[in-house]
Symmetry: D2
Subunit: 373 residues, 4 copies
């Protein structure tokens, strides 16, 4: 079944495997008139590329994106925007035991079960390289949101047991360290932790936190197309994500109503539907699955990189038990590179639901078409 | 935008408000030939109905479901199955301050922002009563899954700070207590905790855990229609859910790869794509978003019931600050009634993705149509 | 597969069989604030009901529609609108040979092939009665379009070889004769033709023509969701329709470019995208699949009613050849009752594409959200 | 709105403009294990390329397709198949008056209305060149269908007033003349007619007929996703198509039931759902929108090429009336090049509905998963 498209009226379709000819995305449904350049998209791709730190793989992807359609005289035309990154390095390699053996924690076994065989080179479609297509598409969504006063940003909240301290949080700090942590001290501790793991041929998980600022109230469609429900799907669709929570999240399950409820205060505006503001934001920016005008805040839990150099028990495709050691250099943590992937999926979700929300009220539709009384 | 349908080829569409004429669901795409009766669906609805314990509302809904189409001579015909529950009690009531005032933690404010006005009677479409449609639809999905050897069940994992102990877990115990906890001792503790909260006019959140057993390997579609991604959306679409995690979930973020990876063992079968089994199940039954043949295990975090009898600060629709006390009897916990809602959404998701997975391999399609060599 | 929903953001889902408990529709995605009553919908249903003339079946359906949700204080709330018509007459009947024998021109054989068995009572889901759900849903779409200055109307263009004369066409005449022909003389001729066919135990086909007036330019989405493409699907989804054409249609295939091209004239407005008008309308209101501001005009070809009282050769479900005579009273022509069905499908299509078109231009989106410079 | 994807589980997404960097398609949902090469796709593209006859444009597109993903070791992997044709010739040209003036019969005006501006180079996205993406995608669908014993083919049925004679029809003749007419004498007459039109600076429309052979009974989903309804949409989505009819089509509207009904005969098989055969095929292969096992036969009406070298009245984007003569060489007929486009859209539709039909019966699903009794 076709599973590589995301979104209803603002939709991205991605393609490409780790060691194929390239990776790409088609962004369809982007409104006409948005200024868009290859640089806009490259800036996002550069944030996910490897080789940025000693904790990320050395392979020089040097991904250069090309816009093949949908942009004319520097602006989107409303037609599909094809984005493409050709793979530089497709040398034939010795994939050795990877070809026949199911790596623990990877999708080798399930791809074989589902499709009967698989492109085993570097994980094929199940490789983290697939996310380049998401990021390219997400860059377009983010540009659209910016033109509407909406900003999406994410950062590393924790790496293994090391979490940022809310009181030390400083977003400017995020881009100064290679782990995308907005807390300089936590970043130092996390670096030390990761070095220790590398020495032990092990890896770590972590948590990414993401914020959507400036989203107007009223976005999200009851009852199945809620904003938080769509964000959850978007985030869980990223490989290695095992959990999603919004606002107080799992913490809310242990709380009392009197603690968790957000009181409203007047926002100072009059009119038929005056804007209220929540005094706190345990809800994380949604009520009943609809944005409430507060920042949307959610978290994604990433499992540890499954590729570790230790011997692991497994099975090959002939049903024989094997021991495997994953060779080559692998990131002990994928979280820093995943930060921009989370942003991309959040931007794609917000852009689609924002546009979908335009048809919720007859009076606004009449004003739009100039046909009301 | 149309947001009340769920599923691609096995699809449920729900309708109805808390105090309207009724609640219903249309199940479209159910394969022909499934034995189905009103009793099958009633059994699910009875599990979510209120008045089952002192912790759930006294209102006698007495929901009786009627099958209006799609079943002939006791079997589904392949055409839409319309399910309907008429509301018994639609007396005009004094909705008093609820009509104009935004209840903290409810969707009153966001519905007004989105739609310009709202059906304020009992929360209208944003009421928990909406879930009756999901449960009716989910009952059909569960029946279909059972006919294919797949079983979905859920239970209360925690209420506030009280969690079941894995070593005491006994599924038979679940239906013996009113909190749907598969641990008698935890249930007793939770009952005491809830009584204390009620005395304090407060409420509690909790966690529901759900298991899908017997799902074959190969279900879920890379890269955006993964099994876990769809489950996450399904679960977050339930009102009051603030988090979703699968397998080791948020715990995985603090783990090492060597701890979290599940080793494979041979399953004893031969052939081209032999079945392997995972020795552990930290993954929660999916690898790369595709079912791996192990039980799928996930958890949903529910926030505390927002309706509490304490005074709360808020705003009315004229922008004036108000204090509100939610009158009437409200559940101090919705988790026990939500258990069957989680099962329903899991069943709907599994049924749709299972049917969608049938087109993944040419050899199987050729065998299906009898046209291969 | 779920096939009973139509539309992307304004969506109708229908259910019900000919002799089941009822027929219904769920209209999801209707904007909030539209005045809507049961009378609005009943007026449409009354136009398709049988027993209006000697050429339509005598069965007294007396369909009374009930709105079960989605309307509060006389206006749509933005949530699903459930519409229901209970079948009055469900007496057990002797379905005799219909039960086992495949009626020529009906879907008996294909339903058995597809689903393994079928609800044989009156054709089940493949009965023309299914269209009541479409008409109920279409009535809501038409009301929405009217509130935006858009009008959809259809009429009988031909019955068998009798066609209306363009020079005599008078829309006021349409509702004065039972065949919905806007030409009194053609209506008389067609009545005589149908009486002759009835005497010969035979039936007739015909053509319905439909006009959408007031649709703004810019509706329809290249390249697969064009306005005319969606209309074609909507119309062909009506049972008994065998052809669709827009503007000069099949006639265009025999024409020259110099005849068929519509010249533009200035519409008298200035500005960056000034409105032009076409001097002729061979295109039928679309260019490149996008509405051009002219009336949209299309035609639907209906086959003759397959139920005729003459003996016909066929096969039963045991593979035995049989002769069948369709008993009971059947319309010799379904076209007059289908006129409102065509209107309904056109209205559903136009409403959905109109709302979808709102996101085509960034400048308009910025104005909508009040966020542009 | 995203409008460049077609299909539900077998889905093609196309991109590209006439004079942009390239044209492409992403085919998602193709089952794994299908042998597929660039030659398979090139063979289809070659049939739509210009310069094949004196009646088609001289521009040497020389489209060479490249498969960028989704194929490994010569077989599809089940992941998205990216197909790309780079445009050879992107020299900057003098687009002169085309840039500002709305060509009659083209989408210039409606694109400006919808999007606020347009890529005016060669028609941009509304150019016939867009169909290369459809044809590339359709080639994959046709290969899939072939592997299941299903064959799709089309031919020119008429050009202007010249129609093939059924008694002279010879499919082998189709590929011997440049007009794709399976009747040598009609082809000669049509050539003479077209030469006359060219001399008169005029153009012609025509009709394409298409046949799907080998489609099993049971394909198509009541009530909105019928086989014929989806074919109608697919065909009307092709630029220049103004009409669609299946089986006896518009002719059926003038027929009697006794003429148009297809009698059934026994097919010689026994069993619970024995195959019947229709003695005639006025229905064109569907009953109730579901395939009946007979060949599916439908026709598409193409309007005359709107680009003619005669002076035409029109308007520019500043609202000023203008006279325009379309310069350059243009085909006086697009029908011969459209034959393969019709095949492509038919194959895409049949492939998607075929796969969707697999979930219609529980007994077959149980057999598929090996879980029934």
């Amino acid at each position: 079944m076709a599973g590589s498209s995301y979104g209803t009226i603002f939709r991205v379709t991605t393609w490409g495997e780790s060691h194929g000819k390239g990776i790409g995305a088609v962004v369809d449904g982007c409104p006409a008139g948005l200024p868009l350049s290859e640089e806009d998209i490259q800036a996002y791709l550069d944030r996910r590329k490897p080789g940025q730190s000693k904790f990320t793989t050395a392979r020089q992807e040097g991904d250069q994106v090309e816009i093949l359609s949908g942009v004319f005289e520097g602006k989107t035309t409303g037609t599909p925007i094809a984005l493409e990154v050709r793979n530089k390095d497709q040398r034939s390699k010795d994939y050795g035991n990877i070809m026949d053996v199911y790596r623990p924690g990877h999708a080798d076994y399930t791809f074989d079960q589902k499709y009967g065989f698989r492109d085993y080179r570097g994980g094929g479609r199940s490789s983290g390289r697939e996310t380049a297509g998401r990021v390219a598409g997400g860059a377009v969504a983010a540009k659209l949101l910016e033109s509407l006063g909406i900003r999406v940003y994410a950062y590393t909240r924790s790496i293994g047991p090391i979490e940022i301290a809310t009181e030390r949080m400083d977003l400017a700090e995020r881009d100064k360290n290679r782990l995308y942590m907005p807390d300089a001290r936590a970043a130092l501790e996390a670096e030390a932790y990761l070095e220790q793991l590398m020495a032990e041929k092990d890896s770590s998980g972590g948590v990414v936190e993401c914020v959507i600022e400036g989203l107007p109230a009223g976005i999200g469609e009851p009852v199945f197309e809620k904003l938080d429900a769509n964000l959850a799907k978007a985030i869980l669709s990223i490989g290695a994500v095992k959990g999603f929570e919004i606002g107080s999240g799992f913490g809310a399950a242990a709380m009392r109503g009197s603690e968790n409820n957000d009181a409203f205060a007047a926002a100072g505006r009059g009119g038929a539907s005056p804007a209220a503001v929540k005094r706190t934001n345990h809800a994380g920016g949604t009520l009943g699955g609809i944005s409430d005008g507060s920042p949307v805040i959610f978290r994604a839990a990433f499992k540890p990189t499954p590729s570790i150099a230790r011997p692991q028990h497994t099975v090959d495709r002939f049903g024989r038990e094997q021991e495997i050691e994953i060779r080559g250099r692998h990131d002990p943590i994928i979280v820093p590179r995943a930060v921009v992937v989370v942003e991309a999926m959040a931007a794609l979700t917000a852009a689609d639901l924002l546009l979908l929300s335009m048809s919720s009220r007859l009076d606004r539709i009449q004003a739009f078409f100039g046909t009301g009384e």
